[in-house]
């Protein structure tokens, strides 16, 4: 089990390395306080199962000893992408969330509420639109690889149960270009479009170190397990 007594001062860490997914770069950077180094990793790592774990482990292994007091991941459980990770030389801090949508919305409870009231939600954020993918970008990519007919069929198979696009306004200015793209996606899929204001609390705490119960703390050498993220 993750420890609550990590071997560094959780309340006042002096130097941290944040290893995070590129989709949250814009939301994390404003909290730079001079005591954090960031390393952002490509969203594309999500696309192949197992790739995320491999690359994250390699990144963790390359962190030099003695430079940082701890490593913070800008990832949740992410379809088990963090399961099996182990930092031999550093304590590891990970938000105790299923995926980044909780971070964008500010809490797991808020994500849970959205996901249960509207299970057919496709979430978009400025970062997802810029660095990740949207249904429309997938369609165009499929059409390039095959043709429009196949692209339409595949996208339909993937998206047939979705009923709305939810754009999370994370305070990026201006939001209008992202809104336009999110709307276009909803129109293309003939589903509803909604926008919701996000919260930056978890991003701020992730960077500044005031982690509390929403984050897992793993002592040096402890291995990440799926059950650490699941409710009992």
């Amino acid at each position: 089990m993750a420890s609550n007594n990590a071997s560094f001062n959780r309340d006042a860490p002096s130097k941290l390395l944040v290893l995070a997914c590129a989709v949250m770069e814009r939301e994390l950077l404003p909290f730079q306080n001079g005591r954090v180094d960031f390393r952002f990793l490509d969203y594309g790592l999500h696309l192949t199962p197992g790739n995320l774990t491999k690359v994250l482990q390699r990144e963790i292994d390359q962190v030099p000893e003695g430079v940082y007091d701890g490593i913070v991941l800008g990832y949740g459980l992410c379809s088990n992408g963090v399961v099996g990770l182990q930092a031999i030389n550093h304590p590891l801090v990970i938000p105790r969330v299923h995926d980044c949508i909780s971070l964008f919305l500010g809490s797991s409870d808020r994500y849970q509420e959205e996901a249960t009231q509207h299970p057919g939600t496709y979430y978009l954020t400025p970062g997802w639109i810029e660095k990740g993918e949207t249904p429309l970008s997938k369609y165009h990519s499929y059409a390039r690889s095959y043709n429009e007919e196949i692209a339409g069929w595949v996208l339909h198979e993937e998206m047939k149960h979705y009923t709305r696009i939810l754009l999370i306004d994370t305070g990026i200015s201006p939001m209008s270009p992202y809104r336009e793209i999110a709307r276009r996606n909803a129109e293309f899929l003939k589903i509803s479009f909604q926008e919701l204001r996000g919260e930056s609390d978890l991003f701020q705490r992730l960077v500044t170190g005031s982690w509390g119960k929403d984050f897992l703390f793993l002592d040096k050498g402890k291995c990440v397990k799926q059950e650490m993220f699941l409710d009992p």
């Binding site: 197992g50 379809s79 996901a115 690889s145 069929w153 993937e158 149960h161 799926q226 993220f229 699941l230």
Partner: protein
């Protein structure tokens, strides 16, 4: 194994390999032609299934895991597989006289992912099972009610999100409360699901690959695969 006089054993072997490749290459036309030809030539139905169609799909799934295939390739291979399975299914049913077993399947509550589950359906139906597919976002109550109503021997659940996996546990608990846990065998699968999780929630089996679904279910029912 092969009740056939017109073709040599080696030619049948070649046809089975071509059939596998056609599934991998999403070539629906070749899958249809070859499956029909082998059926006409009285090649054993389970040989066509297990040495032709299934290995092709298994290979496609492996490529998906490695990242050389993506969702479009996987879906198109599934479509090709389904064409072959649709030819074999009624024949297998006729030969086996009765259905091999009755399975209730669905994706758990608040989860809408069904690509893997639909592939499991194709595989199970192709192997002669009667499959009652409840679709996606299925509540524990609906699962248990349907199993009871249709007297299914197997309850199969899929989840693609770590946030919805817990509903598998709730469903198994409800099955237990209804006094059906011992008579109905449960099998679970989906990308984030593990054998440890299956064990922890009391599922009878964990199915890592859609292509091995029939084998897993047959083993649970004590049927020789």
């Amino acid at each position: 194994m092969v009740m056939n006089h017109r073709y040599q054993e080696s030619e049948i072997h070649q046809m089975l390999q071509t059939l596998s490749q056609a599934v991998v290459m999403r070539d629906c036309k070749t899958v249809q032609e070859l499956t029909e030809r082998m059926v006409d030539e009285r090649v054993d139905l389970f040989v066509i299934l297990n040495q032709g169609l299934n290995p092709g799909m298994l290979w496609a799934c492996e490529q998906f895991r490695k990242g050389t295939f993506h969702v479009p390739e996987l879906l198109m291979s599934s479509r090709a597989l389904k064409i072959g399975m649709n030819i074999l299914r009624p024949l297998i049913r006729d030969r086996e006289r009765n259905v091999v077993g009755r399975v209730v399947i669905g994706t758990v509550k608040f989860d809408l992912h069904d690509i893997g589950k639909n592939l499991v359906n194709i595989v199970l139906e192709g192997n002669g099972f009667e499959v009652i597919d409840l679709g996606v976002d299925v509540s524990p109550e609906k699962f248990v009610r349907t199993v009871e109503k249709h007297e299914a021997q197997i309850l199969a659940m899929s989840s693609l999100l770590t946030s919805t996996m817990g509903w598998m546990k709730s469903t198994i608990e409800l099955l237990r409360e209804a006094g059906m846990k011992r008579v109905v065998r449960t099998v679970i699968g989906g990308a984030p699901v593990t054998s440890i999780f299956a064990h922890n929630i009391g599922a009878d089996a964990y199915c890592a690959e859609a292509t091995s679904a029939a084998e897993t279910v047959k083993r649970l029912l004590g049927i020789e695969a």
